[in-house]
Amino acid sequence: MEPLPAEELLGLYALMTEVRHLDRAAVAWQRQGIIPGYAPLLGQEAAQVGSGFAMDRTLDFAFPTYREMGVARALDVDMTGYMATHKASWHGGLYNPVTSRLAPIQAVVAGSVLHAVGWAHGQTLAGESGAALSYFGDGASSQGDVHEAMNFAAILRAPVVFFVQNNGWAISVPTEKQVAGGSVAARGAGYGIPGVTIDGNDIEAVVHTTRWALERARSGQGPVLIEALTYRRGPHSTADDPGRYRTLDEERESAGPDPMERLRDRILGAGIADMEALAGMEREAAAAVDQVRIKLTGLGTQPGAEMFNFVFQESTDSLNQQAEQWRKESDHD
């Protein structure tokens, strides 16, 4: 495995730094009442930033769950629009999924895995050469839809990469009670598709493997399944209390070294940058996050009429009448 060029490592570090800042900030915002809830990705920065970074944004398309803020940032998605989902502005987020190459945020576990397969098969049918990147978790791997997706993808030889973040937990349920056999990647063999396990906290491994898999998919060799081993260092969401199902000691032991610290040590060790340069990145990250906070708090409440506006491309009389009645009854006092 070739080491990544210095500027890529620095770019990744900058992204990871901003993601970590934004993640920590979002938890604080929830406590401050700025947003009603949030699902932190603390500890999964390398897996998310690395895989998103590996995409070709002119060709590929990503399908997230509800925890892929790091992927969104790596894809340069408008982060206020992204975070708006956590402000309860709009379920799918307020960014444009089509131009962002990131499908709307999606709360049904495993719900979008088949969409990635369909979109990927569409590439084949249209004679285009993009690949789909499907994100899901160890918990989601238990859903029937994941099985159907892998079987369809392999039968259709669809250019899709299944990127599983195995972060050790599905809310309170640990992987060993979730994934029979212990490995999601091992299931690939049953469909005749390569299943690769990687250290999801080693950002170079993540970038390399995801690039390889996407290229392989784009070149018509079919789907790949990547299982990135990582750890959910925080709670499942701001509503969760991990103290009820794991101790701090257990956390420390299972989490292993922090992916950010690993990349920092790698950069400093190779003399690619010094502490000062990295501190500069921290400051830039803090400033960027501050901008998001300002824009997010500045976002007004979504107008009620929006409820009715996007149900259909072609609305119906019945729905228009409901909108009309709603307008009358909510104008009144």
Binding site: Q106, V108, G122, L125
Partner: protein, 348 residues
């Protein structure tokens, strides 16, 4: 409603107008097959897929010959997994295609409900209109063919309750042809419920739709009461109307066609005239679509209604085996009893 309206591709794909030019006598199966053939020919983004729809041409032969003609990229068999089929459809729609998936039988739509309700019906909304779902899901529906379990069910009340879906059911070959072309041109997801008991009866299909396909239609004009029905029950109600006519009862038959959105205007207009209504459907009574239809009628015709709207429906039991099918599906006798109840109703 002109031909070009429904030959338009929702996804902006190039459209060659292909359409029957003169009346033809077709079975519903043939009418649907013709419509699919023309949709595939006129919309290069249209795709037909599902279980056994390719080589075999579908268990009801509705897709017969389409793979040979349009190729196995555009008409293809999938593995046996309905959630997979509908999830694939959603992804293909995101990629700019116009999917026309099939679920082999009504009862096998249940495994796909999660993808239909939580994904297909919501992706346009979730994406704020940037990811339309121009999907037409064909579901051979309703009972009457003495089939095994789960092959005779009526899911319209479920689908009609889901925001973001449109639901339609044709009653005869002419309706089937035009409504399928109309549905396939819709930029929104449409559940297309084919009354499988009516696949084989032939009738003329005219080149012009004949009316506005977006609403209900009066299948028979009458003065004494309105029978509201859809799918296979329309033909049965027409039969009942003939029988009732022998007793001097002049029955109007309203073919609802769209089960969501419901055409409340035509309903109100008809029952406003006849002042009495019976809704007929195969699905179980409780929380069936008949309740919605009855309530829409009552709300709009409260002052003129002479009797409560009657419902003649399947019972609140699982769709039974062939032996009991004719006891379950509303038959002529039960519909006549319903008519009698609304005609003889006396305020207490």
């Amino acid at each position: 409603m002109t031909e070009t309206t429904y030959a338009q591709s929702a996804t902006g794909a190039e459209v060659h107008t292909t359409h029957i030019q003169e009346p033809r006598v077709l079975s519903m199966q043939q009418a649907l097959n013709t419509a699919l053939d023309e949709i595939l020919a006129s919309n290069t983004k249209a795709l037909v897929f599902g279980e056994d729809v390719g080589h075999l041409g579908g268990v009801f032969r509705v897709t017969d010959g389409l793979q040979a003609k349009h190729g196995s990229s555009r008409v293809f068999d999938t593995p046996l997994a309905e959630s997979g089929i509908l999830g694939l459809a959603a992804g293909l729609a995101m990629a700019g295609f116009t999917p026309l998936p099939e679920v082999q039988f009504d009862g096998f739509a249940y495994p796909a409900i999660n993808q239909i309700v939580c994904q297909i019906a919501r992706l346009n909304y979730r994406s704020r209109g940037t990811m339309p779902m121009p999907i037409t899901l064909r579901v051979p529906s309703f009972g009457g063919i003495r089939a095994p379990e789960h092959h005779g069910e009526s899911l319209e009340a479920l689908f009609a309750h889901v925001p973001g879906l449109k639901v339609v059911s044709p009653a005869d070959p002419h309706q089937a042809y035009h409504l399928l072309r109309y549905a396939a041109a819709s930029p929104d997801p449409v559940i297309f419920m084919e009354p499988k008991a009516r696949y084989w009866q032939k009738a003329p299909v005219e080149a012009a739709p004949g009316d506005d396909l977006a609403g209900a239609r009066i299948a028979r004009h009458g003065r004494h009461l309105t029978l509201v029905a859809w799918g296979a029950m329309v033909a049965r109600c027409l039969q009942v109307a003939e029988l009732a006519a022998e007793d001097g009862i002049d029955v109007e038959v309203l073919d609802l066609r769209w089960l969501s959105p419901i055409d409340g205007v035509t309903l109100a207009e008809s029952v406003g005239r006849t002042r009495r209504a019976v809704v007929v459907h195969e699905a179980p009574l409780t929380s069936g679509l008949g309740a919605e239809v009855a309530q829409l009628i009552t709300a709009s015709c409260f002052d003129t209604l002479r009797s409560p709207v009657e419902r003649v429906t399947g019972f609140d039991v699982p769709y039974p085996s062939g032996d009991l099918e004719d006891e379950y599906v509303p038959n002529v006798d039960r519909i006549l009893y319903g008519i009698q109840r609304v005609l003889e109703y006396k305020r207490g």
